[in-house]
Each structure stands twice: as structure tokens, then as C-alpha cells.
Amino acid sequence: MKKDIRVCGFGGQGVILSGFIIGKAASVFMDYHAVQSQSYGPEARGGAARSEIIISDEKIGYPRPIGVDYLVAMSQESFDTYRDDIRDDAVIIVDSDLVKKHDIGRPLYKVQAQKIAEELGNKIVTNIVMVGAFTSIFGLLKTEAVKESVIDSVPKRFTELNIKAFERGLEAGKNAVKEL
């Protein structure tokens, strides 16, 4: 088993952190092998950013995805830019408010991550909502492992908010599966 995952969005959205949380959940809080790599423009904010994670039950050689099994997009630009090499059967998850032009003639999971984050009072946890949604849709990682990874990766004073965001994300992911 080997899964190539790409999380993308605009710089400042916490794309790298999302990938970090997923990779850590798989390899620290579960027994998978995982590598996470990233690329982003020279600017710290804005532009298209992506974070890529490989999760495997065997040692990982080449550390970058060759083809993508799971694409998670949180901005239009990144959705348009980082989709060329995804597999025909790739699972696509988008924030449908942020990726308005998502009708590309194939089924995809829609999660209103930013909207949920705003409901929770802080847009900054959009990425964590998305991690939650991804966890539900992906299915391979134990919910508890990802939750622990979230707690381990965010500043202590925001733990509660992030747990809420993660749990709302889990739910939104389940709903997205039903809707599809």
C-alpha cells in the first residue's frame, strides 16, 4: 500500500501544517512510513503552495509523489495549478467556497472548510477542518491518531479550537461522502 496525497492552497493558509499533521499522524501516531515535502513560492503569503505526503507500509524511496491519489485543494489557483498529474481515479476534495470553478467533469468531495472555521470564530483553522474532512474521506488513518497529531502540532493555547475544527471537519467529511 502506498498513497500519494497533495494538499494545496494559497500561502498563509496552513497548507504545510496540514501535510505535517497528516504525515505525523501516519508515522508517529501510527506505524506507517511517511514523508512530507513541500513547495511554495518565494513569498511567505499568497501564491500557490502545496504540501505532499506519501504514506506507505514499506520504506519510501523516491520521496515525491508520482501521480496523486488524493488531492485536497483550498484555493482556485492551486486547484488549477496542481492537478495535472493526478491519477484518473484520484480522490479530490475541495473547499467549494474557495474553489468555485471545481466542475471539471468528475466527482469530487465538497467541504466548506472555511465557512465552518468562520462559524467556530477563526478562519485560521480552515486547514484543520480540512484535515478532519480528509481523515473521514481517506479512511486509512485512525481518527484518534490524527487528533493526537493535531494536538501535538498546534500551539497549546489553541488546542481546544483546533480539536473543535478537526471534529467539525470529520463530520463535514462524512457528509461529503454521503452527498457524493
Partner: protein
């Protein structure tokens, strides 16, 4: 405030035993575990995370972090700190490494232990700052003027970024020579699981300090207390009143700039202290070589797609193996010659236009075919690209 090595405290500062960590940060962890108490550096992509990690943690373990004015000064301060009694390191990338060449040579000439982490990026010149490369593999060996020996390791994983930084300190202390961790923008910016050793599992080698009577001490000659070409180290402030110069010096350390025998004696000792031990310094990983007809000889990040290509080859019935150099310099010449006798073809993939392929050729080409498999531009070889070399395409 004087630093005291306290591995328990260092482990406390580093945190959990199992982490999902950035390659650059793993170099920080390695340095701290080895007892590094001084870091002098200058920010540069993709190595800045090493400086950032040190700036955050060194003060918490009682060490000193200084952001120097440039990489020339960084290397200088690192050497000064070593003579002041510290274990010291810096981290940089190509453009900074070029600036460090001056004092890298000074460290070799004055037998100063210190560690340089080079998170390689593409060059020449400013190149592609955020992208990885392996373009400094010859620079680390020959980049400073005159005769010297390099100690260089090339990590392929985040775990090795930490392990090899510790090993670089150990080698550096043992041989009193600068040692380099030649990582790159790929491995440096990967995150992977890393297991941090407990205090009791750390294997740390420290410099042999001078203990002989001050009147009898000779600073730049074979050890006076053991069988070794590495002199016992009388760091500053210990009462030995050592004079250290980058000029050719006699055994007492005094300038001997116009005397051929003094120069020959000095430079032969500082090079053979390492080459004499070359066989002991071999550190490699060998995969599937027993029955191999063709072998990748590889190192660092490139070993990863090479291993993937090897697995593809094996699945398709090609008898392919892999020799991965963990220590790149000194070069494991005998091992490569022996491998060349056993296989028909050696492929050397590198993220440069062909650097380590040269020593491979030197020691292999009388016995088998040697092919360079270069890739530049800041991207690793795809496994398929390397697989094609196996099919002879």
C-alpha cells in the same frame, strides 16, 4: 557562563523520542546531541532552518548562537570557538559554502575540529535557491587551495541528517579536521519520522585534550600520549599557551614558511592521519549486490530514486544492486574496485553533471563500464528515469 555538556537537559529540550521532523532540524538535533555549544551562521535558503533551530535551542542548553555578518565570519567564529574549547558548527548552502572555503582550509591546516552542514542547492552562483542539488561534492573535497583531506557524509533520510551530524562531530573530533554533512535541499526540506536516541545510547567521541607536562607538550606533531598522527589538543585557556597559525608551521606551531621539509612533514601528517584510516572510515549501505550484474553507486538524496529504480529492476528480473556511500570522502576506493570486478556496469546518478562519477571511474573503469546519470535543475531523478539506465536506454 561556560557551557557544560548535559545530555539529559539536551534530550529534555529536544522533546519527544519519536518525531516527524524536517531534515534541516534533524541536523540541529544531531549537533546539540553531539555537544555543539557554539553555532555561528548566516541565513541562506535552504539551510536557514538549521540556524533558526539553533537560535531557539542553543540558549536553552547553555550554548551560544551568533548570527555572523557573513559566511566567512561564520566559519572563522566556528574555528575560534573550537580553539576556545567548544564543539562548534555552522550551516550553509552553495554560495555560503564558497565563502567558507577560505577558513575551511584554515581549519584543515590548523587541525581544528568543527562541523559544516551544507544543504546543497543548485549552482553555479545563486542558482535556484529553494531547490536541491549535489553540486558541491567536489568543492568539499578540493574547494580550498592546497593539499588537505575532506571528511564528508551524505544523508539520504531525515534520520541520517541527525545521525550523520553526530557522526561528523565524532570524526571531526577524532581526526581534528573539519567535517561536512553534505545534505541537500531535498532531504533538508523533507519531513520524516525520526527516533532520537536516549542519553545512554549516544555514542559521542570527544577530542583528546593535552595532558602532558606543559614544558614537554608539542602542539603540532603525532600524539604524545597514544599511537596516532592526531596531536593532543591544547585548547586556549588551558595553560599550554599554544600558537596557532595558518602559515606552514613547525611542530611547535611557529611559522616555517621557507622550509620545504617542514611543509612536507606537516601536510603529509595532516593528510595521512585520515588516509591511513581510510579503510576504517568506510560507511556504506549495500543492497542486492551478491548476484548483481549492474549496480547503482549513489549517495544522499539521489539514493532514494535509485533504490526505487532498483526495486523496479528486480521486479522485472534485472540483477541490479546498489552501493550507497554514507561517507563520501574519504572515498571508499577498494570497495568500489571490488564491486567493479563483480558487476558489468556501474551507474552513478547525481544531481549534478557528474562529480562523484570521477572517483568511481578512477577506481572502477579498468574492470567494468561506468555510466554517469546526471540530473540538474532542482529536481530529483524520477525512478523511471533511472530504471531506463538499467535497460540500457
Amino acid at each position: 557562563m561556560k557551557y557544560k555538556y548535559d545530555p539529559k537537559r539536551i534530550r529534555e529540550v529536544l522533546g519527544k523520542k519519536v518525531q516527524f521532523l524536517l531534515g534541516d532540524m534533524a541536523c540541529v538535533y544531531g549537533g546539540l546531541l553531539a555537544g555543539c555549544s557554539f553555532f555561528g551562521g548566516y541565513p541562506i535558503t535552504p539551510a536557514s532552518e538549521v540556524a533558526e533551530g539553533m537560535a531557539r535551542r542553543l540558549p536553552r542548553v547553555g550554548g551560544t548562537y551568533i548570527q555572523m555578518e557573513d559566511e566567512i565570519g561564520s566559519m572563522a567564529a566556528v574555528i575560534g570557538a573550537a580553539w576556545g574549547g567548544a564543539k562548534s558548527m555552522t550551516a550553509t548552502s552553495g554560495p555560503g559554502f564558497s565563502l567558507m572555503m577560505e577558513n575551511y582550509g584554515f581549519a584543515a591546516m590548523t587541525e581544528t575540529p568543527c562541523v559544516i552542514v551544507n544543504v546543497q542547492r543548485t549552482g553555479p552562483s545563486t542558482g535556484q535557491p529553494t531547490l536541491g542539488a549535489q553540486g558541491d561534492m567536489m568543492q568539499v573535497r578540493w574547494g580550498t587551495h592546497g593539499d588537505f583531506e575532506a571528511l564528508a557524509l551524505a544523508p539520504s533520510t531525515v534520520q541520517e541528517c541527525m545521525d550523520f551530524t553526530i557522526e561528523a562531530f565524532n570524526l571531526s573530533e577524532k581526526y581534528r579536521n573539519p567535517a561536512c554533512v553534505m545534505t541537500d535541499g531535498e532531504v533538508g526540506h523533507l519531513r520524516e519520522r525520526i527516533i532520537i536516541p536516549d542519553e545512554k545510547d549516544l555514542k559521542i567521541i570527544d577530542r583528546v585534550t593535552a595532558t602532558i607536562d606543559k614544558e614537554k607538550y608539542i602542539p603540532f606533531t603525532n600524539s604524545q600520549t597514544r599511537k596516532s598522527k592526531v596531536p593532543d589538543f591544547a585548547t586556549f585557556g588551558t595553560g599550554y599557551r599554544t600558537y596557532v597559525t595558518g602559515l606552514t608551521h613547525n611542530e611547535k606551531g611557529f611559522p616555517a614558511t621557507d622550509k620545504q621539509p617542514d611543509h612536507e612533514r606537516l601536510v603529509k601528517r595532516i593528510t595521512t592521519k585520515i588516509t591511513d584510516d581510510a579503510d576504517k572510515l568506510v560507511m556504506v549501505e549495500q543492497l542486492n549486490l551478491d548476484d548483481a550484474d549492474v549496480a547503482f553507486v549513489t549517495y544522499g538524496a539521489t539514493a532514494r530514486p535509485a533504490e526505487s529504480a532498483m526495486e523496479m529492476g528486480r521486479k522485472n528480473g534485472i540483477k541490479v544492486g546498489l552501493l550507497r556511500l554514507k561517507i563520501v570522502w574519504p572515498f571508499p576506493d577498494k570497495l568500489v574496485t571490488n564491486l567493479a570486478k563483480d558487476v558489468d556496469k556501474i551507474i552513478v546518478p547525481e544531481m549534478n553533471l557528474g562529480q562523484m562519477v570521477h572517483p568511481v571511474r578512477e577506481f572502477a573503469e579498468n574492470h567494468c563500464e561506468v555510466i554517469s546519470a546526471p540530473k540538474i535543475g532542482g529536481e530529483m531523478h524520477l525512478p523511471m528515469e533511472l530504471y531506463k539506465y538499467l535497460e540500457g536506454k
